[in-house]
């Protein structure tokens, strides 16, 4: 019970300050009562949803990430580890609510030019490839800066060939990938695999690298669709 109370407080603390500011702005702009109620009802749903969701992630999602992360290095087959990392990266990203929200907004604003399904799939594949790469980096102990510089250089090169509509969406996809479901899962997975090296290697950088994947994938989508 105390854990639920703690989580509830965490959710309330994280939502209240910003909703208060928004509420005051609404009053200043003389929003109608219906709008105010709609917003407050939305806030209540967001709080309740986040609470259930955080609870579920702690009970169901994170332990799975830890168990698989713990089990993977024991197989001793690099190709298998990279393949499972790919599958997990895809599966966890398509479940990410932040990705769903961005995809919904893109679908709406672009008038259906970039549909939800296409964007979510591209983002998922982007993360999948980069989770594999992160695992490879961890196993081979390669410095993260080589991956970061190489991938952001490709991002900016692709941006030249990508239609202008895709660039902001691609850059934003990188940010939303790492939301409340992906981060604990990826970190648990990384910690598990890093643990096989007896604490000599850290799992830091997994989340950062996972955010580049979708940028590249969506840019590439733009280059292909833009032709």
């Amino acid at each position: 019970m105390s854990r639920i109370k703690e989580l509830a407080l965490e959710v309330i603390y994280s939502v209240i300050p910003i909703t208060l500011v928004i509420f005051i702005i609404q009053l200043l702009l003389k929003f109608s009562l219906t709008d105010l109620i709609q917003f407050l009802l939305g806030t209540f749903f967001v709080c309740l949803g986040l609470l259930l969701f955080f609870l579920g992630t702690k009970i169901g999602i994170v332990p799975i990430g830890e168990m698989i992360g713990d089990h993977l290095p024991k197989t001793g087959k690099i190709r298998l580890i990279l393949f499972i990392g790919f599958l997990l990266g895809f599966a966890i990203t398509v479940a990410e609510p932040d990705v769903q929200i961005l995809a919904t907004q893109v679908d709406l604003v672009s008038g259906g030019n970039v549909t939800k399904l296409v964007l979510i799939s591209a983002v998922g594949i982007g993360v999948a490839i980069f989770i594999s790469l992160s695992l490879y980096k961890l196993i081979k102990n390669i410095h993260i800066k080589y991956f970061l510089i190489a991938s952001y250089t490709i991002v900016f090169l692709l941006a030249i060939f990508s239609p202008p509509d895709f660039i902001p969406i691609a850059m934003d996809s990188g940010g939303v990938t790492t939301g409340p479901i992906t981060v604990p899962f990826i970190v648990a997975l990384g910690v598990g695999v890093a643990g096989a090296f007896g604490g000599r290697r850290s799992s830091f950088g997994f989340v950062g690298l996972a955010s580049v994947g979708p940028i590249l994938a969506v840019m590439l989508l733009g280059v292909i669709l833009g032709r």
Binding site: V21, I22, G49, L55, G60, Q100, V106, I144, G175, F204
Partner: protein, 252 residues
Amino acid sequence: MIISFFSGFDQILIEVALALAPIFIIVCFYQWFVFHMESEDFLNIIKGFILTFLGIAIFLQGVYAGFMPIGQKMGTILGASPINWVLIPIGFLLGFVAILAEPAVHVMNEQVEKVSGGYIPQKILLYSVSLGVAFSVALAMARILYGIPLAYILIPGYLLAFFMMRYTDETFISIAFDSGGVSTGPMTVSFILAMAIGVATAIEGRDPVQEGFGLISLVALAPVLTVLTLGFIYDKLYKNTQNDENEQSEGY
């Protein structure tokens, strides 16, 4: 009004079920072929999945029916007003409070405090990341108001980050890029982005796709630069004083 608030919930339930299906299939596969957990433990995992499913569905309903339309409306009203420059300070304020309260940011702060051996206290990091993000949201609003291309901000920003990477050690580089992703939480993505799209729709000559989106990438860049700067300061000041002390005590 209450009825219209719930419209589309059945659609959301289907979408969330589909979104969770792949990871659930992998879990079942692992349970049957690898883990063979006790049925009680496996039941707990299933309970976690059910809670996650309901939680995401309810959260998304709140976002789609409450946050997104109101955010967009607010952006449209402010963007069309003659004093639309107020969006810059409003963006600053929203960015600041959104990040100050983000649970994931607190987790990252604990990590940095641990890695720097307590040299970079959580409070300092929290306020510098919050200020960084506040500045980013303000910049994103200015970008929409004055039609600045995203690349003009992102390319120098990342070049600066790469330049600073030369002077920072690997752990800090990793944490810096991790925190970039972490800072873009559900509040930024749902409300602030919807507002930005509203602003871009309201202003003549702005394209909602090209100018509305891009905000999240700016929010993600701020903590990268902040943490790299703190890592750089830590490296220069703390390690140098530590070396001096070592030299004195070991007497080389």
